[in-house]
Amino acid sequence: MSQEVWRERDTTPSKVEAALRHLLIERYHDEDAFVPARVLNLVVVADAEFRGEVENRLERVGRYHPSRLVLCSVEPGHKTIDAWCSVSAEQAEGPFSLGRETVELKLGDRHLKALDTIVDPLLVPDLATLVWAPHGHAEAVDALRRLMQVVLVDSQDEQELPAALARSGELLETAYVVDLAWLRSTPWRERVAAAFDPPPQRRELAEIAGVTVRHRADSAAAAVLYCGWLCSRLGWRPGSLSDGGSSRRTGHARARRGEVTLRLDEVEQPGAPGLAGVTIETASGWSFSLDRGPGGLKSIRRARDGSEQVWTVLGASRGEAGILGEGVRQALLRDPTYKPALAAARAMVA
């Protein structure tokens, strides 16, 4: 990959924009095959001290790299705007080299309130803009609301689950929210949807009497959203979850034919955060479980007579490294089920 760079201390957004334009023109001159990627703008607001960690995570998104990255690294007390920008190109499939633009701004917390006025000139017009603030900086995200179409959050990162879900709900009023905690539950949602898809099994959806979600200690958000998804899709009215101990939350949801018991259990899970397993039971004694296993999800179906079937649903784990890339990819898609799932999840943790 080749790269051209410009940097300046105590600069202004218009100077950065001019420099970026100049770098692009130079790149066009140097290389006939140069084509800038035009997928989306990503604005990241991060603590300066953890800038390297964020850059490492962004490097791992692979082909889901945004077209233009504006990384705002925030250093408390910093007075000026210092900028560094580059246009890099890598050989893509086919005879062209795909360009990506990066702008890094070092700025102080005093800049955050009007961050939109700094970032606005640096965005590629007409591309969707995705904002991600992995270290909080709610003020900066709020300032960027008029520019962003999509915001990336990770409900798991917040200390308080109700506050995390409330914040997502609030952001949903002005932007599409991609929640990494929600994405961690995607394979589980897909598999349960598939398990209940054959017509004989589909009938059992109305008979569900209990749901148990097993999750890593730090992944309660994914578990609650998962239950919220079942509630919203199946028309259950969720009640509050109560702590049945430090590692268990329990509650009920009201379904048309009776109550559904909801149980969220923390379990030991080495490796990636997220869900560890799901069990769904019906009033008649039929149950279906999924748990992580080698080469996919271990699936157990227990019939009313107690007989069991065990098999593996094949699939490679994407691992936590892939979750950010998946989040960036999802920024250009729309999942209509997150919002109602979030509303149900909020009702459970209210």
Partner: protein, 516 residues
């Protein structure tokens, strides 16, 4: 377990599954897939790697079994070993050992001489055992990946063994191309197929339709208002559809010499492109609605008379040449090709679509081997502007707009526009506005077979060729084959590495082919 009640529609009365809303990956019913011709090239290079990639992504059904069926005698373990090598060699991603092992465990093998009824009994027994193991009857998908002459025999034997329908499970058959070698053989094959299966059970594969860029022709036409007003005989001068290859026939002499360019590419892939380009917007993207519109286009292409074949078609063979400085032999010198072969390695056609939208617009199709470049594209040449207000001296002047839909290798769309050359004079030259897939989408496109296998397992038929469609295709091709058999027009030649024979230039004159 086979039942006498012929149904492939189990329990349709349950409502929709509310859990699938919003999911990118839709559920695929639990399935046992049987690949006939499992030791063949297609299975090794495409089908098994596609199945692995579906498994890797968690896109296979939750209960899935694969049965390899071929004439060769081998054990399950021997079959698994060979399949493991094929997947490792041909998968688009490095296999995950645990997923690969999991998939291999689901593989079984049955030796099936294709006309041996007893072998189908053994196959049926194994399928039932797998049902027992799963505790439910799994959907059956028979994938016919054998040489085409076995398609009829396999279908009939499946019926004989009662494997073609099931009371409680969907039964589907996927049939590889070519579906027949001419109109008569296609009709005969169709007769057999329809005596065994209902049309909704049959999935005739043309893997071109699984390509993202081919599907994008529909998105391009029907998701963008700006093109529709000009998409007709009033504004379009002509269309060129090109599928050029720079390689020769390689080791495929046996197949290719009995097929030729017309059957190999025009009858299926290129006519598919033509229909997607010409069809009317369907009222929905329901499989039959889309295919109804495609068939209407094919029906509007009047089959040629022998005189028209002479005037509107070119066939040619490559001769020895030195493309890029490398000496290559001519077609007749290729290993396995008879000295007196009359098989065309190049063909160009002029087709007319006789309907309200396209009357008078010629469609030029060309395909060939050992041409100067590998490319597949559709070029739509618009008519010139009605009045030229600009002087053309000192520039190439105003050129008609040209829209290119590039299918491979540089997937994208480009549109030539007239633009003013900077300076004090009003001089115009064409410039290009380009959209490249690679610069606008982050996702890697799945292989066509991955999409098609998944669609077939789900019973989604939009990207498969329907019975009347394949017959309509052959109805266009058959008169050409018959006239060629009579020797008209005589077969021409072109040097390997050139864009085609001079006769093709005469076919398109006074227009010109786009440079390859």
């Amino acid at each position: 377990m086979p039942a006498s009640i012929p149904t492939d529609a189990p329990d349709r009365e349950v409502g929709d599954n509310p859990l699938v809303e919003g999911l990118e990956r839709l559920p695929v019913p639990p399935t046992t897939m049987v690949i006939f011709g499992a030791s063949g090239d297609l299975a090794h290079r495409k089908l098994l790697p596609a199945l692995y990639n579906l498994a890797h992504e968690g896109a296979l059904p939750e209960r899935f079994n694969l049965i390899g069926a071929a004439r060769r005698e081998q054990t399950d373990d021997e079959f698994r070993e060979v399949m493991k090598e094929s997947i490792s060699a041909n998968s688009r991603r490095e296999p995950d050992p645990q997923v690969l092992d999991g998939l291999l465990e689901r593989m079984h093998y049955v030796s099936v001489p294709f006309d041996d009824s007893e072998a189908y009994g053994r196959l049926g027994q194994l399928i039932e055992e797998l049902d027992e193991e799963a505790g439910q009857p799994l959907a059956r998908m028979y994938y016919l990946s054998t040489a085409p002459e076995f398609f009829s025999a396999i279908a009939e034997e499946l019926k004989q063994a009662g494997l073609h329908r099931h009371k409680h499970a969907d039964v589907r058959v996927v049939i590889e191309k070519p579906f027949g070698t001419d109109l008569e053989s296609a009709r005969k094959l169709q007769q057999v197929v329809s005596s065994v299966f209902r049309e909704r059970q049959v999935f005739r594969i043309d893997h071109y339709l699984g390509k993202e860029t081919v599907q994008n022709v529909l998105a391009f036409r029907f998701a963008n208002l700006m093109f529709e007003p000009v998409w007709n005989r009033n504004y379009i001068d002509h269309v060129q559809i090109t599928a050029a290859e720079d390689l020769g026939i390689g080791t495929r002499a046996g197949y290719y010499d009995s097929s030729g360019a017309l059957r190999d590419l025009v009858q299926n892939h290129m006519l598919q492109l033509l229909t997607l380009l010409c069809m009317e917007p369907p009222s929905s993207f329901d499989a039959d609605k889309v295919r109804d519109e495609k068939v209407k286009v094919l029906d509007a292409v009047t089959p040629m008379s022998p005189e028209e074949v002479e005037r509107c078609t070119v066939r040619a063979q490559y001769t020895a040449g030195s493309p890029a400085g490398e000496d290559v032999v001519g077609y007749l010198e290729e290993e396995g090709v008879p000295d007196d072969s009359q098989t065309e390695t190049y063909t160009a056609l002029r087709l007319m679509v006789h309907n309200w939208r396209w009357e008078g617009v010629p469609f030029f199709l060309r395909t060939g081997k050992r041409l100067s470049r590998k490319t597949t594209e559709i070029a739509v040449q618009l008519k010139p502007v009605p009045h030229l207000a600009f002087a053309s001296d000192g520039s190439v002047g105003v050129q008609p707009n040209l829209l290119i839909l590039a299918v491979q290798p540089n997937e994208g769309v480009s549109l030539s526009l007239g633009a003013k050359i900077p300076g004090s004079r009003m001089r115009i030259r064409p410039v290009n506005m380009e959209f490249l897939y690679g610069s606008s989408f982050m996702s890697q496109s799945p292989e066509a077979y991955e999409r098609l296998i998944q669609d077939a397992m789900r019973g989604e038929a939009t990207l498969f060729t329907r019975d009347d469609e394949v017959i309509a295709q052959w109805s266009i091709i058959d008169p050409i084959l018959r006239a060629w058999k009579e020797g008209e027009p005589p077969i021409a030649s072109y040097s390997a590495g050139l864009p085609g024979p001079p006769e093709a230039d005469e076919l398109i004159a006074p227009r010109n082919w786009r440079g390859l």
